[in-house]
């Protein structure tokens, strides 16, 4: 399908960054959830099924209409969010490693369901998914728009009550509860937002990749997306974005060294936490870099 690097890799990188953000959000509330690939798969199947199975959307046309894509984004993200809302409450009562394992189980259950349910196309999945854009540049624009929106959301959250509550829950959930914060609701909100972002990314990816099957939502993806956050930095949203961009590009950039590239990739994930426990981008480092910049006239945010 691809003929060399051109725009395909950047699209994958941006989609990776989006998935990184999806993993980051629950972590920002102290929840290690590995459910992102599951919601990603849900979004993808939504788009795949709708565009190939519902003629009214215009799947037969040479170019898949943008309004239909928009509809899919809403539906796919919405479905993912709804499922997250339903299973979130009981699941998020679990702590630490138990929550992580529960989300792994969830992803696996979804994967098996996707492999076997009559309408998901079995192991081959769904193919010949209509294309809203004729070349990767269009996808890059769409993906970048989504990423910008998601980043904007995360940035705004930080200065809002919800963002502060998330950070409080992450630092000390017990203390946060004792300060009157409805920690269950805070965690659920992060979880649902994470699912929506993953779902929306899935919708776009399904069109981009042209086919969609159960392999898209697998444990491997849990690992790689988690690595985005751990490598890039888990204390600020910039971290997973950077992690997603870099680690998605890495296997491609390492192509020249052939089969060893996945080994190198694994080494990065192996060694990263040992060398950079907080990831590459930490709030402290950000502060240092900001101070290196020449002073501007007006401050962006009033600092105490």
């Amino acid at each position: 399908m691809e003929t060399g690097l051109d725009m395909t890799l950047p699209v994958q990188m941006v989609l990776g960054a989006l998935l990184g953000l999806s993993v980051y959000l629950p972590l920002a509330s102290g929840q290690l959830s590995l459910a992102t690939p599951g919601f990603y798969a849900i979004g993808g199947y939504c788009a795949a099924l709708l565009s190939t199975g519902w003629p009214a959307l215009g799947g037969e046309l040479p170019t898949f209409p943008l309004p239909s894509l928009l509809l899919e984004l809403v539906l796919g993200g919405g479905l993912a969010g709804l499922i997250a809302l339903l299973i979130g409450r009981p699941v998020l009562r679990l702590q630490g490693i138990y929550l992580a394992i529960a989300t792994i189980a969830l992803v696996e259950i979804l994967r098996v369901l996707n492999l076997n349910l009559p309408f998901t196309g079995g192991a081959l999945g769904i193919f010949a998914i209509p294309q809203p854009f004729n070349d990767p540049a269009g996808y890059l624009a769409a993906a970048s728009l989504l990423l910008a929106l998601a980043c904007w959301l995360c940035q705004r959250l930080e200065t809002m009550r919800l963002g502060r509550a998330q950070a409080a829950v992450r630092d000390d959930e017990l203390a946060a509860r004792s300060m009157g914060i409805d920690t269950a609701r805070v965690k659920l909100t992060s979880f649902v937002l994470s699912a929506v972002i993953a779902g929306v990314t899935g919708v776009l990816s399904a069109h981009f990749l042209n086919t969609w099957n159960a392999k898209q939502g697998s444990f491997d993806a849990s690992i790689t997306t988690l690595a985005f956050v751990v490598f890039g930095g888990s204390r600020t949203w910039l971290g997973p974005v950077l992690g997603g961009l870099v680690l998605t590009a890495l296997p491609e950039l390492l192509r020249p060294i052939g089969d060893l590239r996945l080994v190198v990739y694994g080494l990065v994930i192996l060694v990263g936490p040992v060398l950079f426990p907080q990831g590459l981008i930490t709030p402290e480092r950000l502060k240092q870099w900001r101070q290196l910049l020449p002073q501007r006239g007006r401050p962006r945010r009033a600092e105490p």
Partner: protein, 259 residues
């Protein structure tokens, strides 16, 4: 409406963990505006009582009433929303957040900005945030923490951290403030300051204060009334002068030091 009702009513609270008895039949009532102290040696169950009141530990027996309605069985966040705030013996600050942000979290009750307003940074949102920051800074000022506002809470000296926890608890706007060993690790001069501070905030915020402390002279000076816990049981209850002379208390303390 709460004219004759005590603010907090602890009725025959017992807590048992398997075979271990942490509290047995503890009962007392708090009157509005008083400073009430809980004293007793380590392991007497004082923090356990706090945990029962604040909803962190379930009581095996007995009930707690807050302004006439039952409090036992409520989760910690609801207890706080009813007007009870506490500090922790082992300090539970949000160490990765700034001093100011710690207090801002406490003020979340009053942050009624809408989600959309926050996202769009509407005028009302920004004004509100500014007001909250102002209130937070005022609180910090009260506790002598203004200069440290931008520092991560985890970087503070011990005494400053203790005061920050108090400031944060106060930010939640409680009627009852529960302090768990607020004077721990303080030298005599700091203890005096603390005494004076507690008296001040009681007056300023019209609080009722429930304190756990080890340092008996401090409590004798500060508190209007005391309850003495010994191995989970309440062995005395009353004004400091009476408690000091109570034979059971003398027995418990002298008996210990004779060993």
């Amino acid at each position: 409406m709460s004219g004759d009702l005590p603010l907090l009513s602890v009725e025959r609270i017992s807590v048992r963990f398997g075979g271990l008895k942490a509290l047995e039949g503890v009962s007392f009532q708090l009157e509005e505006g008083e400073i009430f102290g809980l004293i007793g040696p380590n392991g007497a169950g004082k923090t356990t009582l706090f945990n029962v009141i604040s909803g962190l530990t379930p009581a095996t027996e007995g009930t707690v009433h807050w302004r006439g309605t039952p409090l036992t069985g409520l989760p910690p966040d609801q207890v706080n929303r009813r007007g009870i705030a506490r500090t922790f013996q082992n300090l539970r600050l949000f160490s990765n957040q700034s001093v100011l942000d710690n207090v801002l979290v406490g003020l979340h009750h009053d942050d009624h900005s809408s989600l959309l307003g926050g996202l769009m940074r509407s005028r009302s949102f920004l004004t509100r945030q500014q007001q909250l920051r102002q209130r937070a800074l005022e609180l910090l000022d009260l506790f002598d923490l203004t200069g440290l506002a931008a520092l991560p809470a985890g970087d503070l000296a011990y005494g400053d951290r203790r005061r920050l926890e108090m400031a944060r608890a106060l930010a939640t706007g409680p009627r009852l403030l529960m302090l768990d060993e607020p004077a721990a690790g303080m030298n005599p001069a700091e203890k005096d300051d603390l005494c004076e501070l507690i008296g001040r905030i009681r007056h300023h915020f019209q609080l009722t204060v429930l304190i756990i402390e080890h340092h008996v002279p401090l409590m004798m000076r500060l508190c209007d009334r005391l309850a003495v816990l010994h191995f989970g049981e309440q062995i005395a209850l009353g004004p400091p002068a009476a408690v000091r002379r109570d034979p059971a208390v003398i027995q418990a303390y002298l008996g210990e030091s004779e060993r």
